[in-house]
Point group: C2
Chain length 107, copies 2
Amino acid sequence: MQRVGFTFRIKPELKDEYKKAHDNIWPEMAEAIRKCGIHNYSIYFKPDGTLFACLEVEGDYQKQMAELSRTDVNKRWQEYMDRFFVKEDKSVTGPEIETLEEVFHLD
Amino acid sequence: MQRVGFTFRIKPELKDEYKKAHDNIWPEMAEAIRKCGIHNYSIYFKPDGTLFACLEVEGDYQKQMAELSRTDVNKRWQEYMDRFFVKEDKSVTGPEIETLEEVFHLD
């Protein structure tokens, strides 16, 4: 099991809508995430629009994420989410993710 | 069980030292954290010095943190950490913490 933390940005004024969309995540999207071995996945909001995500994944994170990104449902979800994201590079599909280094862990 | 995410800041140039200190956390400090019902506690570093922390806690987070902050070992640990922190309000003991709102969770 691998732990992963990453950050990306949304337009802060759209936070309530973003949360609502995630409260009502499509069952097939949740299923696709789980199928890629991802669990205990939380996203936290900072009022400046920064989102901080942490998750646990079985197997190799990069490989599992590549697999997830190839699914049809993920492509549709990212299109649905696109108007929330703040990105430097608009050509990026989905959020512009910055992976973070874990500097501490206590089981 | 409650999940909590929060953020605080350190001087980015001191990251390696901060990580080293946490790789070698005092056993009595780790024990004090566990005694307060805190587990699965990770801290992630963003290159601008922002730290993101996420943890799980049994019982009430505010109460458990208040309990932890009263321990002698925690006071000594925060003094030891003090030079790493970036704070607007220097009178704050320990890191200047901003609690984050969870906008998504998938078990």
